[in-house]
């Protein structure tokens, strides 16, 4: 750990365990194309691991997706990301990283606002992105597990995610 205080992120009011996660519709990007899709379309098919992350290109997005990929999480549960990156960037990222998941593109960070997880980036004027967070949702979008970044940067505990998935 560094010998200084890492920047803390402010309090938030993101959906907690037991809450219903807000539904939204955004372009959902896979390896081949993108089309508008709703979170509820996905949960209708089963549980969803919803991962809010930095724009692709920033190292936290790379770290999180490498880890989820290497742990085989997308094979265990529908796993979808959300960031402000454009569909073109998302598509390149999935290909370059060999990630078998789908990513929502939310350039105006409206989903971040709905979840109270807006992160205004210092030094990038006018850019608001998604505060890193992970939600495991059941078929009714009820939150079964939640992790929200408290520091910048901050990373989820993958063992906790694995435990939550094991409880499905």
């Amino acid at each position: 750990m560094p010998e200084f205080d890492v920047v803390s992120l402010p309090d938030h009011d993101a959906p907690s365990v037991g809450d219903t996660a807000p539904d939204f519709t955004r372009p959902l990007v896979n390896a081949e194309f993108w089309e508008d899709a709703s979170l509820s379309d996905l949960t209708d098919d089963g549980p969803v691991l919803l991962v809010f992350h930095t724009m692709t290109g920033a190292f936290p997005a790379t770290y999180v997706w490498n880890e989820l990929r290497d742990r085989g999480v997308p094979e265990d549960v529908q796993t979808v990301g959300v960031s402000i990156s454009s569909p073109y960037e998302h598509k390149s990222f999935l290909e370059e990283r060999g990630v078998d998941a789908r990513l929502f593109s939310d350039p105006a960070a409206g989903v971040a606002a709905d979840y109270d997880l807006e992160h205004d980036l210092d030094g990038m004027a006018g850019v608001t992105e998604h505060r890193p967070a992970v939600f495991l949702l059941d078929e009714d979008r009820t939150v079964l597990y939640r992790w929200v970044a408290d520091e910048w940067p901050d990373f989820p505990d993958y063992e906790d995610i694995a435990d939550a998935l094991a409880d499905l």
Binding site: T25, E32, F33, W34, E35, D36, A37, S38, P87, K91
Partner: protein, 87 residues
């Protein structure tokens, strides 16, 4: 929003005038459709090749009729003949 998936899927490229021409016809006929956007590079359009046999866009898949078609002039003619006033 998309509880009911529309029967017509349009494979399109952002800002492609031929695709917009098809969109205009779909709108004129009041037809619901699902847009699937692909990349400018032809080599990145395997999904279009799989469904239509070619990598060109626009391409539509119409589950109402089982028709899959490329080329905007052909698509416009098909939509007007199938869903237009004279159909």
């Amino acid at each position: 929003m998309s509880d009911e998936q529309p029967a017509i899927t349009l494979y399109r490229l952002q800002a492609c005038p031929y695709c917009e021409r098809v969109v205009r016809t779909l709108d004129e006929q009041g037809l619901a459709y699902q847009s699937r956007f692909v990349e400018p590079m032809h080599s990145d359009r395997n999904v279009v090749k799989r469904v239509s046999g070619k990598r060109s866009v626009p391409a539509i898949v119409d589950d109402n009729t089982g028709v899959t078609m490329s080329e905007s002039a052909n698509i416009v003619e098909y939509l007007e003949n199938t869903y237009g006033e004279g159909a």
